[in-house]
Subunit: 156 residues, 2 copies
Amino acid sequence: MDEMPALDAMDRAILRLLQRDAGLSLAEIAAEVGLTPTPCWKRIRRMEQAGVILGRVALVDPAKVGLPLSVFVEIESADHSAAWIERFNAALDTMPEVVECWRMGGDVDYLLRVVVPDIASYDAFYRRLVAAVPSLRNVTGRFAMERVKGTTALPI
Amino acid sequence: MDEMPALDAMDRAILRLLQRDAGLSLAEIAAEVGLTPTPCWKRIRRMEQAGVILGRVALVDPAKVGLPLSVFVEIESADHSAAWIERFNAALDTMPEVVECWRMGGDVDYLLRVVVPDIASYDAFYRRLVAAVPSLRNVTGRFAMERVKGTTALPI
DNA sequence: AATGAAATAAGATGCAC
DNA sequence: GTGCATCTTATTTCATT
């Protein structure tokens, strides 16, 4: 996570490729951006150490592993103390079906995305959540019907 | 994308590892799950061909590339014809700042997540969206303050 | 200071058992 | 599923611009 000079156009080109396919060989990346493997490799390593590149992960098809349902959960809390936040975060850590949690501006405090096999599993999750976290004023689950677009690639 | 027998415990263990770090060597994965590299490699290749593993990508820190703001956009349409849907999808394709789009049940038709540098950029996006897509009854942007949790790893 | 060429080390793939 | 041979690719060193 060292300090790092601003990314140039070449760095950005490399990031765009790596965001689409982290399995590309150095030779392929280098050829694509117009460089030889060595400087290309150094740029990638520099961006990894600077934390620009957070990691390389495999993406799995949710339906193919029995998790076809995504539910967005809006949460309003009656308590905004540090203690409550800590308890809420601790609960999230123990719930792997929560794949995203955003603290929001506006009327809703948090927006979660929960990935589950079916509606019954969502209900079970909901009960666990309400049991684990106190002072929940409102919890609203909204069901996704279809993922129309979904990418991990940022518009760089 | 061939047909594939159900995933066994070993397949799932491999997926869990690969979802956390796709850069692990075959030897490391094999040792972790208690196998030798070759069968481990065959399982991975089988899951890739079956589409269980969708790909390997690099994850980039949004703030470090000048994209610190995520906005969730709720969309209600007055038109639900096939023609409208096609036009909407086409518009999404041309908008890389839309990283996610879900078709929802309930009152809201679509929920997007848009990644932008700042509020002004979101406003510019909003104008382009409204100009490109007809029959939008309601478009509400909700700003995320903080990503409390975010993972691409499904609870396998 | 950044790049490129060549040598080395590590790992992935395929085969025989 | 295991162990080994081979072949590709990442990584390092060093010369060059």
